[in-house]
């Protein structure tokens, strides 16, 4: 398989993730609105619109690389968090999982991609996406900060490792490939793993701790 074809395959995976993110942010917007956090709801609606735009940009890159830009078949949106999680806590779980963990990792990985990409359309796409991803991560951190100001959110600590595992499985798979694809927006796997480890240690863990969430804490969730 040629380098553009291998890169296009990874961008198709990225396309699927962007489409799923539309659903997650749309769900979050509805939950935030229902609980009266209208500013967070507005930011989540914007994030959903951004992700829709990102999906279109991914399709354009796929086409430019000679791949099939048709979107994958829509899959049911997975519910985030364990089934036993009280409904009242599920929105916060989702905001942390999507914003604080996944989008924060995405920001770091996109910045690393941006540093090595040279294909003009890939560069322009990465610039557009990373700008929005910063807002999406901030949404998660803002939601956590607000919830922590209202109640003890330490129960999230028991779920952080699962959030990380899910994010890494998606995010690293979406950006990592063989070493020859850096110019086309794909990171070598070793570099992607290093970025994830650094971001986890320097951004996510201290960010969570800032709001009383300690990764690996075993306290049970309490309905807020």
């Amino acid at each position: 398989m040629t380098a553009p074809a291998r890169a296009a395959a990874i961008w198709r995976h990225r396309l699927a993730i962007e489409r799923e993110a539309v659903g997650h942010f749309g769900w979050l917007a509805a939950r935030f609105a229902a609980q009266g956090d209208h500013d967070l709801a507005a930011r989540a609606r914007q994030a959903a619109a951004d992700e829709r735009d990102h999906a279109g940009r991914c399709q354009a890159v796929i086409a430019a690389l000679g791949g099939d830009p048709a979107p994958p078949a829509a899959a049911p949106l997975p519910a985030l968090g364990p089934a036993a999680l009280p409904a009242a806590d599920r929105a916060l779980y989702a905001a942390v999982a999507v914003g604080c963990v996944t989008e924060s990792l995405s920001c770091a990985l996109l910045l690393a991609l941006r540093a090595t990409a040279t294909h003009p359309q890939v560069v322009a796409t990465l610039d557009a996406i990373v700008r929005d991803e910063i807002d999406h991560a901030r949404l998660g951190w803002a939601a956590l900060a607000r919830a922590a100001a209202r109640a003890d959110v330490g129960w999230l600590g028991a779920h952080v490792d699962a959030m990380r595992a899910a994010a890494v499985a998606d995010e690293v798979a979406a950006v990592a490939g063989d070493d020859a694809l850096a110019a086309l927006g794909v990171l070598p796997r070793a570099q992607a793993a290093a970025v994830v480890a650094t971001t986890w240690a320097t951004v996510i863990v201290p960010g969570l701790a800032r709001h009383g969430v300690v990764a690996g804490a075993t306290s049970a969730p309490v309905a807020s």
């Binding site: 924060s104 920001c107 770091a108 910045l111 690393a112 941006r114 540093a115 610039d127 990373v130 700008r131 929005d132 910063i134 807002d135 991560a137 901030r138 949404l139 998660g140 951190w141 803002a142 900060a145 607000r146 922590a148 100001a149 970025v195 650094t198 971001t199 320097t202 951004v203 201290p206 960010g207 800032r210 709001h211």
Partner: protein
């Protein structure tokens, strides 16, 4: 890649709006939280001196393709006073 800025930009500035610009002259961006505000707040839009230094040497961090960050009266556009480009962006 300036990963060391990411904590400040994502976590500390989580209360900021769009990832565009805050001006040194924007009073809303510089006001400290009210004395009775809970710690952590809704994202600390204000930053400690150490965190300000981490954000950039001069001015507020900014994606410099946004309108507010660039003086487009000149050709090529230059970064407006009080702002600093970050994340490898420049004024086009």
């Amino acid at each position: 890649m300036k990963l060391e800025r990411l904590f400040h930009v994502l976590v500390v500035m989580s209360g900021a709006g769009a990832a565009g610009c805050t001006s040194d002259d924007d009073p809303a961006a510089r006001q400290p939280p009210p004395p009775d505000a809970p710690p952590g707040g809704d994202g600390d839009a204000t930053a400690s001196p150490a965190e300000e230094a981490d954000a950039g040497a001069v001015g507020s961090p900014c994606f410099c393709d946004s309108q507010a960050c660039c003086d487009r009266g000149q050709t090529p556009a230059v970064v407006a006073p009080g702002f600093t480009c970050c994340w490898s962006t420049t004024c086009p």
